[in-house]
């Protein structure tokens, strides 16, 4: 297989992996296999998958550097866009199936329920990143500005974790585990940044 075909195959597999949870949820939905409270289940599953993909997106750069596989970076936008899709569906589910367009109740929730306020903030911040994920937008912004804008993820993902942490009833373990992974990934970036800053003047 030539390089091109292999690339396309690998890309297809990544795409499928991102899409699979949604297919699986849809399949279970059609088979009435989402339990007694399918709406709640769906909201929760979509939220968790959104968070997981956001975290995978955050992990790509460190992995590419550590494994010396710079071409991994090309999956970053795909994974990020899928994360956005899951979060968008998560929000849609809340607005449509859970609240049935009860805008008064939704508005009250966003203002009064800190966990929803934080989730909403994370979502609002995600929108510009999703919108600027086309090749056209990337060219238009230029790589420097584009990268700067997309550093918003360093804020968005922790907000997602905090949102999760705040809505848990008794067992804080799962959100804390996600939080620890996020802390590790962001910690690596800080460490890299300081290392570079220290190295640069030495070289120059």
């Amino acid at each position: 297989m030539d390089r091109r075909a292999l690339d396309r195959l690998v890309y297809g597999l990544v795409w499928l992996a991102c899409f699979a949870p949604l297919l699986w949820l849809a399949w279970r939905g059609f088979n009435n296999d989402l339990g007694a409270n399918p709406i709640d289940k769906l909201i929760r599953e979509l939220g968790v998958w959104g968070l997981r993909l956001l975290i995978v997106g955050l992990a790509i750069t460190p992995l590419a550097r550590i494994l010396k596989q710079p071409r991994l970076i090309r999956f970053r936008r795909t994974v990020g866009l899928f994360a956005f899709a899951y979060v968008l569906l998560h929000l849609t589910n809340y607005v449509v199936t859970d609240q049935w367009f009860d805008w008064a109740a939704i508005g009250k929730d966003i203002l009064k329920r800190p966990f929803i306020t934080v989730g909403m903030a994370a979502f609002v911040l995600l929108v510009p990143l999703a919108v600027t994920s086309t090749n056209w937008a990337l060219r238009k912004l230029g790589p420097v500005r584009w990268r700067k804008l997309h550093r918003l993820t360093y804020l968005i993902v922790p907000l997602g974790v905090i949102h999760y942490l705040m809505l848990v009833k008794a067992d804080h373990q799962p959100p804390l585990i996600y939080g620890a992974i996020v802390a590790l990934l962001l910690g690596w970036r800080m460490w890299e940044a300081t290392r570079k800053r220290i190295n640069r003047p030495a070289r120059g």
Partner: protein, 311 residues
Amino acid sequence: MLIRHGGDLTENDVTPRDVYLRRRDFMSGLIGGGLALAGGATAGAEAATGLKGIASPYSTKETPTGRADITGYNNFYEFGLDKEDPARNAGSLKASPWTVKIDGHCNKPGTYDIGDFLRGNPLQQRIYRLRCVEGWSMVIPWLGVPLADLLKKYEPTSKAKFVAFETLYRPSEMPGQRRAVLDWPYREGLRIDEAMHPLTIMAVGLYGESLPNQNGAPMRLVVPWKYGFKSIKSVVRISFVEKQPRTAWNDSAPQEYGFYSNVNPTVDHPRWSQASERRIGEFRRRETLMFNGYGGQVAGLYSGMDLKKNF
């Protein structure tokens, strides 16, 4: 998703009693040996098709939630944190033999076999709404006995201002207890007049069968005007006490779960609204009713009380 219905028979349930139970696929938790006695002379014959209870005027005429949902969607952290966990994991609970310890301010404290505890009290069917603090609800056809009838036998004294309840603590059979998600054993409590209210029952069955383990076998409290977590499951201890007892959820998050925890659409949980609920099986949310719709019977218990403060 292999096990969707919690009522499936597991090895732990195979006891000689099953031999004469025709609908044994329904049987998951077996009632302590005495329950047949509790139902009076006819209970033994009825065991062939399950339990029967006398119809009650306190029952709602609303359509009961499906049995698969009632027995497959549970909050019973002793068996895991997901709603499907209790149905999956509760097979390990040995609900027989079973004793209940009665102590505190009463004339007849002691440790009683469940059969003796229930004896002489005909079962009633009580079809009640159940409203979970999380914002969902069901309609459940319980079989049980008014708690007052059970407690009076132990002659509580005038010092018995409250009744405290405890769930079994047995990590070997309750895997969820191996992690300190709550301060085990699970504890609940009622004011004595709430405990003695005719709506309050000790349930031993649902849908014409003994309680499945995941629903709190072999006996659990049902207090229909309060959020579901007040209706403590698998009760092993009942104490008559003078001071308001500590309760598991109140200990865990005092600002979120009060001692009273009456269903109240005007007092929100700090993190979500209590104004509406999703009835399991329905699509649109419905409005939550004050005291879960039992205000006519119970509002008098709280006259003069600030229910926002005493949430």
